[in-house]
């Protein structure tokens, strides 16, 4: 510790202040970019001035944000080693939240991809998957629980080298006044799973580096993202690379959009969402 202490001059308040202020302008591999328009990684075709959130999230970490209806949210798996666990809540009434069972059952499709609605348990669309060039996602296995992380990596706490997804979600949720009671099963992006006829869950891993998923918020959303390995990842190490997050002002799905009535179930889900927002004056 002596060596580090010697690099800092913190014996008095003024010198400690100067020492702290001396960090200004430093960069880290994983960090938020403020204002968001200053992101070094603005997605192609996006006007930087429309960005509302730009961040690189380290593996084994988390991020969270309340975003307006119509916000587009893009996740990039930079190195092909990312796994983004996602939970969505209606920011107006967080008791309404992602329901993975309804998200798979109601569209009659277990595998997430472009056009798939992420549904709440209240018969409404929280977000729609707009674009996906990965196809390696999962709604069955959730994120690592504490017991699973301990069994596989020896530790699960946020301060350890192998935080569980659950521990990370717990922190993200706490920052919005929510507790573990508020954490339902999550979906994950960029590490795939397929179900065999006998029910066997087969890990298909990543589709490669540089893949992305884009969602649009159909309600005002609380977004929680945890980065930690997929529970079925067979590799012995805690392998989880950086995730890039960009969000920008855009338009939600409305009548006239091909998504609006793509199927009878999705059509009624959008109708329910619009009905709820209209009554709230939104």
């Amino acid at each position: 510790m002596t060596a580090i202490t010697q690099e800092h001059h913190t014996a008095t308040v003024l010198s400690a202040r100067d020492d702290a202020r001396g960090q200004t302008g430093r960069r880290a591999e994983a960090m938020p970019y403020l204002p968001a328009s200053s992101s070094p990684y603005v997605p192609a075709g996006v006007d930087p001035d429309r960005l509302v959130w730009a961040e690189t999230v380290a593996g084994g970490n988390y991020t969270h944000r309340v975003v307006a209806r119509g916000t587009h949210l893009r996740l990039d798996d930079v190195e092909g080693t990312g796994c983004a666990h996602l939970l969505l809540f209606n920011a107006l009434e967080p008791g309404e939240r992602l329901n993975v069972a309804d998200t798979m059952k109601i569209p009659w499709q277990a595998y997430l991809g472009a056009g798939h609605p992420l549904l709440s348990g209240d018969g409404r669309v929280l977000a729609t998957v707009l674009a996906d060039d990965s196809g390696h996602h999962d709604g069955f296995c959730g994120s690592l629980s504490d017991a699973a992380a301990r069994a596989k990596y020896g530790a699960s706490a946020p301060q350890s080298a192998s935080p569980s997804g659950r521990a990370l979600f717990t922190l993200a949720a706490a920052k919005h006044g929510l507790t573990p009671r508020d954490l339902p099963p999550s979906v994950s992006f960029f590490q795939g799973v397929r179900v065999d006829a006998d029910g066997t869950l087969t890990f298909t891993g990543s589709a490669g580096p540089g893949r992305s998923v884009e969602l649009v918020a159909e309600l005002p959303l609380l977004v929680l993202i945890a980065t930690s390995p997929h529970p079925l990842d067979p590799r012995p190490g805690y392998i989880n690379g950086p995730l890039r997050v960009h969000a920008w002002r855009g338009e939600p799905t409305t009548a006239g959009d091909p998504r609006w009535d793509a199927t009878p179930e999705i059509h009624r889900a959008y109708l329910n969402t619009a009905d709820y927002l209209t009554a709230r004056g939104l």
């Binding site: 069972a101 059952k105 409404r124 017991a147």
Partner: protein, 244 residues
């Protein structure tokens, strides 16, 4: 009525002779009350009427046998640590830990902490579902249309029964569906199809800690999770470890 004998101690919130009168159900309904899968002193023996919720607290080691009395009647089920309901049944932990999407004998029903809540110790259908979730009035409007909003649903059963324990919408998570059949096809197509159970078929699970069990005897009228004919379930708790 073809019901086999049941214990005189069997309880039911409605007159049992009416609940078990097959003439009150769809034509051709056959009932088989069966009995406990795991021997031991009977702690509780109840018949859950069609469409109704049910709950019980199981002590560690006690076994709940659920009898599909009329066949292909989905029993939607949530489990909680009885002493700390923040710890509750977790579909993803259960599935990821066993590497399989279906529940069968030997499946450990895990919690949000990844810990065992219960273990399936007996099962008389090929596979049990835990990916199909519960029906709700709200989701029925997506699946079938807004004309179904007034129909009763499992989510309401969970909320009504859960409210007795201080549980609410924040406590509802993906659940088990005993006796429901949800295949996943190679392309990911998934749905509730005709059942693979029958009258008197059973499933049994042992509590691995003290647990609260919430069950909704599924009232759905729009898919084959109960053959469009809601029928009773029988719940028998035995205590194999108790001294006789």
């Amino acid at each position: 009525m073809t019901a086999t004998a049941f214990s005189p101690a069997t309880r039911c919130p409605l007159p049992l002779d009416e609940v078990l009168d097959t003439a009150r159900y769809a034509e051709g309904t056959v009932f088989d009350l069966s009995g406990p899968m795991i021997a031991g002193p009977v702690v509780l023996d109840e018949v859950v009427p069609a469409r109704a919720p049910w709950s019980a607290r199981l002590a560690t080691g006690q076994v709940l046998t659920i009898v599909d009395v009329g066949g292909n009647q989905s029993g939607d089920c949530l489990l909680f640590n009885a002493d700390d309901t923040d710890e509750r049944y977790s579909v993803p932990d259960t599935l990821a830990w066993q590497g399989n999407a279906y529940v069968r004998t030997g499946t450990v029903l895990r919690s949000t902490l990844g810990e065992p809540l219960a273990t399936v110790v007996g099962n008389e259908v090929d596979r049990q579902d835990t990916i199909g979730g519960a029906c709700s009035k709200e989701s029925n409007t997506l699946r079938y249309g807004h004309h179904t909003l007034t129909e009763h649903a499992c989510r309401d059963n969970f909320l009504a029964e859960g409210s007795r324990y201080g549980l609410g919408v924040r406590d509802l998570v993906s659940n088990l569906n005993w006796f429901m059949n949800v295949p996943v096809e190679a392309d990911g197509a998934l749905g509730i199809v005709d059942g693979i159970s029958g009258p008197g078929r059973r499933v049994a699970f042992r509590a691995d800690k003290d647990i609260l069990v919430l069950v909704s005897n599924c009232p759905q009228l729009n898919n084959p999770c109960n053959e469009f004919n809601p029928t009773p379930l029988r719940m028998i708790v035995t205590d194999p470890g108790a001294e006789r």
